[in-house]
Symmetry: C5
Subunit: 89 residues, 5 copies
């Protein structure tokens, strides 16, 4: 999984019919100090994450292992909202 | 998913027979400000996206989770046309 | 697999219910000389790896091939703790 | 899929028995102007592509969705020879 | 697949029980001129490749399509030892 921060939302009316009702969030990569990177992905939200939340994003076929995304054309999913990090390096 | 812009089309007569009838679009990566990156992928269109459209592209095995691409040798699919982005970072 | 070092832990109360009880470790990439890179992933621990341990991380669908992660939305798993490397290049 | 150019062939006698008879081509990434990049992959040919051909390469589990590569340890396959590109960016 | 060179071995006593008996080789990426890159992966050997051998590595779910790695938490496998390359670019 990668650590990211929700910075916005994608609106798309014309889409695969399997995707109706899903929320597409824009998630920028962040460092372990929560510093924002420039790179981002668009991920389906499964935990009601909002803008500003630090989250974990799961990618690839594993992104389809939630009740919401099963068998859907989705390759990234927000599956946790981060409370805090313990880091010692 | 990644955010991209359709910039062209690939023509290929000689191909795996499972791919006949599919439209292969060239999709460049874009930033959240729609700035064009140099990197691109070739993705199968499932939503009649045209040149100039900003789109979402789904990659990997998830790209086979549409009616058109099921069990086909396809690793990237356009599954939504973007109307707008709400971004606040 | 990639070679990494556990540098911390992610705490997340709000998450997909399939993930309850899993430990999410922050794993930085390391070189063959154990030098720490800046890049990292968050991986589910299956071998009781602790902070400071050098580990192997398995990614993608293969990360779901353990008893703990089967059919779960997990795309990275720590599946070995490294004792030593023999390197001659 | 990515756009590439076949620049050579890999010869390997000692290999997984499932791979006997396959042709392994060296494919460099190319830009939309057909400029050669330094990066490359080794892909199994399914469309009799030759050196100098511009091709589409499909990666990951989708590379196993051809008659030749089904259930084989192959993660990249040439599934189309490109005739031309229409690009307007 | 990517082209690599075996430069060493990983020793790991504490690991997922499905991995007992496997040999984990350190494989650096090489160019088409066999020049060593700095990047590397750890791959399970299925063809008795030794240090110094130039090999092909298969990644992702395709790495589980060998008799040795089926259903195992393994995301990279050495599936061929390279005899020679024919390159003309």
């Amino acid at each position: 999984m990668f650590l990211g921060k929700v910075v916005g939302t994608v609106w798309a009316t014309r889409k695969d019919e399997e995707l109706v009702g899903m929320k597409f969030q824009i998630v920028k990569h962040v460092g372990v100090d929560y510093s924002l990177k420039e790179t981002f992905v668009v991920a389906v939200d499964t935990v009601q994450a909002g803008v500003g939340d630090v989250v974990l994003v799961c990618s690839g076929s594993s992104a389809r292992q939630t009740a919401l995304t099963k068998n859907k054309p989705v390759d990234a999913v927000i599956m946790a909202v981060v409370d805090k990090l313990d880091v010692s390096d």
